[in-house]
Subunit: 411 residues, 2 copies
């Protein structure tokens, strides 16, 4: 098999851990697999470099910042390659520009456009273990770019797709994908298998185990993805195409996010073009809106609430206060002490009653629902932040996620 | 003017010093010059990275080592560019592969083959200050190389040659080139001007202020070179083509080196091919021989002495003991407690008496001369290491180097 393995920053935090990683890679190599390894920077290194730049100026020029922070992965990939060599296994490390991994020129959050696989295939053919610096790429002009936080996951999946690898393994500091955050729910269960769609919804609603973009890529190119621990020898979670078994699971997991804030604007004219007037200036400032709820009132006006990343809360509030004046809004206010709790499951497509159970469970614990949003396989409620843990635990129990429960066939 | 400035590791050791460097660059920019800056890694960084690799294995694979250590200059050049930007001056930093600076594929000590100047000229034309990561290049295959210790000096001179710069300034932690090491000779005098040839001889015989290769390059491409302090505002030393004034100076400086060891092999057959038999195996092991002295004896045999870098002493002694057996030598022995003291001066070409004065000065202080070697403008004596300082001071005084002394016209 051709396997792409990705190791995160904590897995290569020091030479001792790097040695353990090298030994694991060699185990697979000995079994006869071809191995391509993607590494992140040693834990703390990227932050150290960003801090250096920000000591000079709070907004360093993005091109120079990418040149600076891409050294983190350059160091870890070279060291891992040296480690493999020291254990008797021929190895070669490549930077993004050497492969090349072509990206857009949006520095600090570039997107991969194309990966040339020939160089890597050549080295694999010669029996070498290929180590690739994650998180980085190069523009066609030859400038170094980085892919944004969690970018090494994306590098790994994109490489697996380009090389038509049989498997992409993401080694990290958790054992897999759980039915809920194990720090909050004691009896949270590790999932053996989950569909790309479910994983996407979980990632977008707060599960931090994988970067959304890497899951999207895996889904598009049908790359089987395994998330597992680099410290403990356990099975991990397989993320793959939906199968019959998955469809029979009503709810796969509960997620939460405390990274959002709510903004509300009351009493705006209920006519076409108003939404564009409100969300135009937000988008122009690069702020991403998540949930949007609009209610028409009997008096011909409308109330509008939406959520944005908490870090953008103040800026958004300023913008909307301005917009509110133009539109003659009655009131603009917001709240950054909110949480979004979500339930995700492929079975929701075909079964009703999930929403009711969610609402009644929250109600039973006196938790007020501020906003609701739904997708085909997800249901999210915005609640007061202080109820986060309570809500997650209550929902986990209500949907009996500690056990594998399949939907009963209805007659 | 187009000026290439090079700043060493101590000049950019931290953000505070980097700021001082940036301010100096801006001063030149304001005067209307086009500036290309070459930087070394922040002091200590290259050693830190090499130490990391050597903790894994004592001889890391050279290609991976170059990938690792080239990050030092990548970090300092990006930070300096960010610093210039923060002070309001548009700037862009380039790595070796981006320019590109093509080198041979001899990792860890690659040689520059070609530099493409277009990218840099383009950015200069747009008014930007161009920062270049020193010490690194790229092979035509796309592998990153480094140029060996002191390689950033070479980068600077090679860039100055490629860009046809008017001047190349090397900023370092000393104020210029002195008549002798100021730590040994109190009244050593800073030279205002010295010829490429003299500088080469001084560098090859122990003066550490400039890497030999950079002086060679400057000489070939006639790049005027200035060595000056990045901490003190003083004039520095200009290294340029020999002129009439220089010719009139008998001796420009005294240098010394404690990095050598002597090996002697006695009683070998005095016939053609013997020298090849002795020096063949040394060269094959990559050991560079400096001085060689051969004496024919009345009995038809010969004695041979030579010097090698002190770090290669033990290995060379082993090799020569083997060779000695094959040749039926009477004895093989060596000494690694030696020093080489040299006097350098363009005026030696046309004036005799320099050697006599050197020998008699050493004799006056009871310093025994073990070996002598000469070049057109240099005279070196190997002596017991413990007399190094005494010899340097005595010669400095004997040739009156504390003052500018010109050769008197002889009638």
């Amino acid at each position: 098999m051709l396997i792409v393995q990705k190791y995160g920053g904590t897995s290569v935090a020091n030479l001792e851990r790097m040695r353990a990683v090298a030994e694991r890679i060699i185990k697979y190599k000995k079994e006869g697999h071809d191995i391509v390894v993607v590494v992140s920077a040693m834990a703390g290194e990227t932050d150290r470099l960003i801090h250096l730049a920000k000591q000079i100026i709070s907004n360093p020029p993005p091109r120079e910042l990418d040149l600076l922070i891409s050294t983190g992965e350059q160091i870890s990939s070279a060291l891992l390659s040296i480690m493999l060599y020291s254990l008797g296994y021929p190895s070669i490390s490549f930077l993004g520009f050497q492969i090349p991994i072509y990206t857009t020129d949006l520095f600090n959050k570039a997107r991969i456009k194309e990966i040339k696989g020939e160089k890597i295939k050549n080295e694999l053919y010669q029996g070498k273990i290929v180590v690739v610096a994650g998180f980085q790429g190069v523009t066609e002009k030859g400038d170094i770019t980085t892919l944004g936080r969690g970018g090494s996951d994306t590098t790994a999946v994109a490489l697996a797709a380009a090389l038509k690898a049989d498997l992409c393994e993401i080694y990290t500091d958790v054992e897999g994908v759980y039915t809920a955050d194990p720090r909050i729910v004691r009896n949270a269960r590790k999932l053996k298998k989950i569909s790309y769609e479910e994983m996407l919804e979980m990632a977008s609603s707060g599960a931090k185990v994988l970067e959304m973009r890497s899951v999207e890529l895996a889904m598009i190119y049908k790359v089987p993805l395994i998330v597992k621990s680099s410290f403990i020898n356990s099975e991990g979670t397989l993320i793959t195409e939906e199968d019959e078994e998955m469809e029979k699971v009503l709810v796969s997991g509960i997620t939460y996010s405390r990274n959002e804030a709510r903004i509300s604007i009351y009493g705006v004219p209920d006519r076409p073009g108003v939404a564009a007037q409100i969300f135009g200036p937000i988008g122009e400032n690069g702020i991403i809106v998540d949930m949007i709820i609009q209610t028409a009132r009997p008096d011909g006006k409308a109330d509008l609430s939406f959520t944005v990343p908490r870090t953008d809360y103040k800026q958004t509030l300023e913008i909307i206060k301005e917009v509110g004046k133009t539109l003659g809004a009655e009131k603009v206010e917001g709240d950054d002490k909110i949480a979004k709790v979500s339930i995700v499951g492929a079975g929701m497509r075909t079964h009703s009653g999930v929403a009711t159970k969610m609402f009644s469970t929250l109600a039973k614990h006196n938790i007020n629902i501020m906003m609701i949003s739904t997708s085909e396989i997800k249901l999210s409620c915005v609640i007061d932040e202080k109820y986060t843990e309570l809500a997650v635990r209550a929902l986990h129990e209500a949907f009996q996620l500690e056990n594998e429960v399949y939907i009963k066939e209805e007659n």
